[in-house]
Point group: C2
């Protein structure tokens, strides 16, 4: 099916999803979850085709692992849908309703966005998550997964569509673009009037391509060059704990730390301990001149300008000694992707300064950046983490998949 | 100055504007207002150059009128800045602050957007309004006005910069792009990383060009193909009042009605009265077959498909007889620009249906669409009216020029 047809069908289906009652949406979520389990065999079969193809084309191991499904992962997808069914429906609330001097009653009603496009890479579980979250917020969804996972994605979406159709509901509420060409992706990105928002989920290359090529509004997600700044007064143990957690607890994710900044007062005591702890976790250290001088026995690689701007997503960290909190804030302003940054300090003044002046989606005092996550923040689930300032910033829950409209009740008012 | 330099200066200045206290921002607003009045002569001189040039190149009268300043209009600009000084500062509030089970305290703080770009056409008063609103919300602003108004805009911005510099504040908080070429506009539209959001203000051509060419996030504003639907049970007098107000009180603006829908039950009584009232106001009527049949003595022009989708911004209206509220909603879904629509009805059921199902920024029951306006809705002032669903929808006040960031206070928490 061509993209134009998919877009038009989605637009029509979005009127239906917007009108579904919460109970009806939850029923779809529970039935699709059940169907995933029932059709495990079929989905695994399709997935094994993708996995075989990936292996044969020499795809790196971690990528193949992201792609691979098994019974447990399908259980996980089904469980995700059941969790979404339990979340409160974000639509329908009316806020700021008030009566104007002329008697007009004006309020802002939270409503679905309409049609949401998701462009993503190898993980087939995004297919299920994105469908569930978009539907719960009352939207129709167009999915465009990576070519690596096409058979898996088709199998999953077919399972969904069959159940939805059996329930007597238009299955166009979820559509997968089966054409995995770049042309199809570009068409989706320029489908103004049919797609209300595009959310890319994946690596920096994918996200950048969507941002640079879309005319449809985009929510930029995910790239995280996150900093830990250890201030003069930081407690060494706390700072070490936070650093090691932020860097090594799960280095491949966007809220992992990529860069350590240490104040010059704290450096002589803190840096040798930090380097030792990082080395024990097999983290490669790329340090500034001063770092290398302080830890001269540790054989630290010199950091390049490029290293400071990099999201390694690996056991690598850049380290820089800065004069004070002001220089740390300036360094972050220059190199950060504005995702998550933390200060470790016992100074009230510097804690306030850091939270006020650092312009990132999540700014921490004395805690690991790894908490920037919809589940951790209590949203129940997330569609991604926005690093842009428009519409949603930081972890995006169901509310980020909605918009508002003004509703106005009058009794004949006209403007003078 | 080249666009890159302007962008970098704006980015740097946005750290300053974000740190200004409300009282400091208000002082700038009041002093720049005063300076506009003091420099009236200089501004009018620059404006007369623009006006002369426009007249010589055969610019239509209404366009020249938009461009022309006089003492009263400059007073109006100054007064606008003083009004903005009186509005509450939208930044600094922290919402949804809560303590997570692990003791982390998480809240969302409202903060400035950063750098806002405004691309606009002939009205020099936008220069002053946009500067005032962006500054009050803590942002640096880059202005790109039309070439028609370049001398006026330069004079106004120079007045601002001089006062700001005299106050000891970096005048880069407001910058005008003096290069009026298309190339300069395109560079601004693709200046990701330096411009956080672009807001176009002007006609459909300008807005479409910004939407289709920007890689920077855009808030789409303003084009309004607004509908009035007269339902079976509408009170004729109320419907006539609303129709005439929405169409003729100020036909050149985006919240004016462009299309009248009438239910087939209401049509025989309502349409002849409506046509008479519209004709008295010199409104040209382009009607469907049924409209022409019912009002066959009135010499109504046949409506084309194109007419239904058009924002006339003039004394012209399209008229269509529809079966019922469902057909009205479907017609609106097909042709509307999703700005403002109104139903006139005494039916509770149809009023609820219309407000639920019409997917526009403002949906009215028994009132004129002309109320879709920041001042009317009690925002004090507006930067534009968003017709997109991301970030802001409908009239945008100061809050639409801000974003939020998560601030998290811990005492050593790490993720398990």
């Amino acid at each position: 099916m061509d993209i134009i047809t998919i877009g038009k069908k989605a637009k029509a289906a979005s009127r239906l999803t917007a009108s579904l009652k919460t109970a009806e949406k939850n029923e779809i979520l529970l039935k699709t979850a059940e169907a995933l389990i029932k059709n495990t065999e079929e989905i695994l079969k399709a997935n094994s085709t993708d996995v075989e193809k990936a292996k044969q084309s020499g795809t790196p191991g971690p990528m193949v692992d992201r792609l691979a499904l098994n019974e447990e992962r399908i259980e996980g997808m089904a469980d995700g849908l059941r969790q979404i069914a339990k979340l409160p429906d974000p639509t329908g609330e009316v806020i700021n309703m008030k009566t104007l001097p002329n008697g007009l009653v004006v309020g802002e009603k939270r409503v679905p966005m309409g049609v949401i496009g998701i462009i993503y890479e190898a993980r087939p579980n995004v297919t299920s998550d994105a469908f569930g979250l978009c539907l719960k917020a009352g939207n129709a969804v167009i999915l465009k997964g990576g070519s690596d996972a096409i058979n898996s994605n088709m199998a999953i979406v077919n399972v969904f569509k069959k159940v939805i159709e059996e329930m007597g509901i238009n299955p166009d509420i979820v559509q997968l673009i089966e054409d995995t060409s770049r042309k199809a992706a570009t068409e989706l990105m320029r489908f103004n009037g049919y797609v209300d928002v595009l959310i890319p989920r994946g690596g920096a290359g994918l996200i950048n391509s969507v941002v640079m090529n879309s005319t449809v509004p985009v929510i930029e997600t995910g790239v995280g060059n996150c900093h830990i700044y250890v201030d003069d007064s930081a407690k060494t143990d706390m700072a070490l704990n936070i650093l090691i957690n932020a860097k090594t607890q799960r280095p491949g994710v966007c809220n992992a730390a990529e860069s350590l900044l240490v104040s010059e007062k704290a450096a002589p005591e803190f840096l040798p301990a930090a380097v030792k702890a990082l080395k024990e976790k097999n983290v490669e250290i790329r340090g500034c001149e001063k770092t290398r001088e302080i830890c001269k026995d540790s054989d630290i690689i010199p950091a390049t300008e490029e290293d400071y701007g990099k999201e390694f997503q690996d056991y690598i960290i850049s380290v820089k000694v800065v004069k004070d909190v002001d220089e740390a804030i300036a360094h972050i302003a220059k190199y950060s992707t504005d995702h998550s940054e933390a200060i470790v300090t016992e100074s009230y003044e510097n804690a306030m300064k850091f939270t006020n002046e650092v312009d990132s989606a999540a700014v921490y005092v004395n805690a690991s950046t790894r908490f920037t996550d919809g589940n951790e923040f209590g949203f129940g689930a997330e569609i991604g983490i926005s690093t842009q300032k428009l519409h949603a910033r930081g972890p995006m829950g169901l509310k980020a998949l909605t918009t508002t409209k003004f509703i106005i009740y009058g009794n004949g008012q006209i403007r003078k």
